[in-house]
Amino acid sequence: MVAPVLEVIDLHKRHGALEVLKGVSFTAAPGEVVALIGSSGAGKSTLLRCINMLDVPDQGTVIVDGEAISMGGPPGHRHPDDPAQLRRIRSEIAMVFQSFNLWSHMTVLRNVMEAPLHVQKRPRAEVEAQARALLDKVGLADKADSWPAQLSGGQQQRAAIARALCINPKVMLFDEPTSALDPELEGEVLRVIKLLADEGRTMILVTHDMRLAADVADRVIFLHQGAIEESGPVAEVFANPRSARLRQFLAAGGRPTGTDLASAADEGVAQA
């Protein structure tokens, strides 16, 4: 077995009284695409944001390519204690956000070049060549000098993916990359994500879109109320879900209402 490129061990996170993550562990092997699915409020996005410490887990460890993010502070209130190391590790993990979060005052090209230039401190000529190549790859070669506000949502998200690729990431984190998009714009982004999966990039993908998960993921993790309810190879999980909650979730098209979930919980059919 190859060493995992990302290892998440026993993450806990609370927001006040609400326990958002209740001890989540998983790993991703090089080239593996892991889809995180679950209903709203299951903790998917928080889990993703804990991986690069945008949200700081109260407890637990994140290991990227064999190196654990150094944490300090008392148990239960831990925080990253080595800013330089955290910055270095973050510059190896690329994140694609639900609302794109392109820097609005920079052209598309500068958005893509900003982190490689100023965080990774790579030579400008090399970065610019790569950035242009990546924009070409996501189909935005002609938009390099546009401002983000001049692009459609789908174009913005593709630009954000080019920005993510340009840091040559070891892991890519996708936080609901298509849910802020109009249905007719989803397709262009989905194609790019699929392309990346086929290239063998390691990706963690939070999504509502079961089609996307089935299409690109190798493995699926179903989160429910801050814990992993079920996980396994994508074909197996979707074809043959073991837990009642996942069955219900899938039956509802992946977007169950709150009452559906509550009734599932009431039935007490949760599996260990």
Partner: protein
Amino acid sequence: MGFLEAIVSDIGSLAVPALFNVYFAVASIPVGFVLAVLLALARHSRRPVLSRFAAVYIYAFRGSPLFIQLFMVYSLMLSLNLSLWRPWGVDGFVLHPLFLGPLVLTLNTTAYTAEIIFGALRTVPQGELDAARAYGMSPWRQFRSVIWPNTIRVAWPAYTNEVVFLFQATALVYFALPVVDQQRDLMSKATDLFYRDFNVFAHYAVAAGYFLVISWLIFVGCGAVNRRLNAHVAPQRRVALRYAPKYLR
């Protein structure tokens, strides 16, 4: 002497005094801007001591009249004259209006500008900040790449007003500080001329004209900067700059 001749002759005799107002503004605005950025960051800081200090400073200087601040600083400096300035041999410099004026104006505009920048700091989109952090930017890099460009764009229209206001506030300097060697600004010179021939309409109108024209020039210059700052913003979301001096202060 007819009224028109009086106007023409005043335009000549008030030209040099206008330079004193310009000097007061030019000597205080850049320093005040730098200090204001630091103060706004202190106010925005998560450290209670820094934030509290900045809040008190801003409140005190925005909550009291510039006129009193001028008197206060001048009399404080005077009372230190015998113990400090005279022995050090710097009294001629420290007590000179051309030093004290910009000093007080700087203290004053720092507070107002810091309030403007602090307000703008809070409008930086959280998502863009998240992205900066997620890509491993250091705090300084986040400031340079994301926070500052957003802040200055949002702050600029209000800051333009502040610059115009500060320029107009230079009119107060010589009401509180002594006139040295016939060095007079617009207001002081206009008042001086008034007591010679009691022609209130000519002298003050010309002084007002100078203020209006220079304020307008400031506004045009700042407007050009504003267009650059908003180049990337979709037309409907652009921050418009309208000539409305003092309104926001």
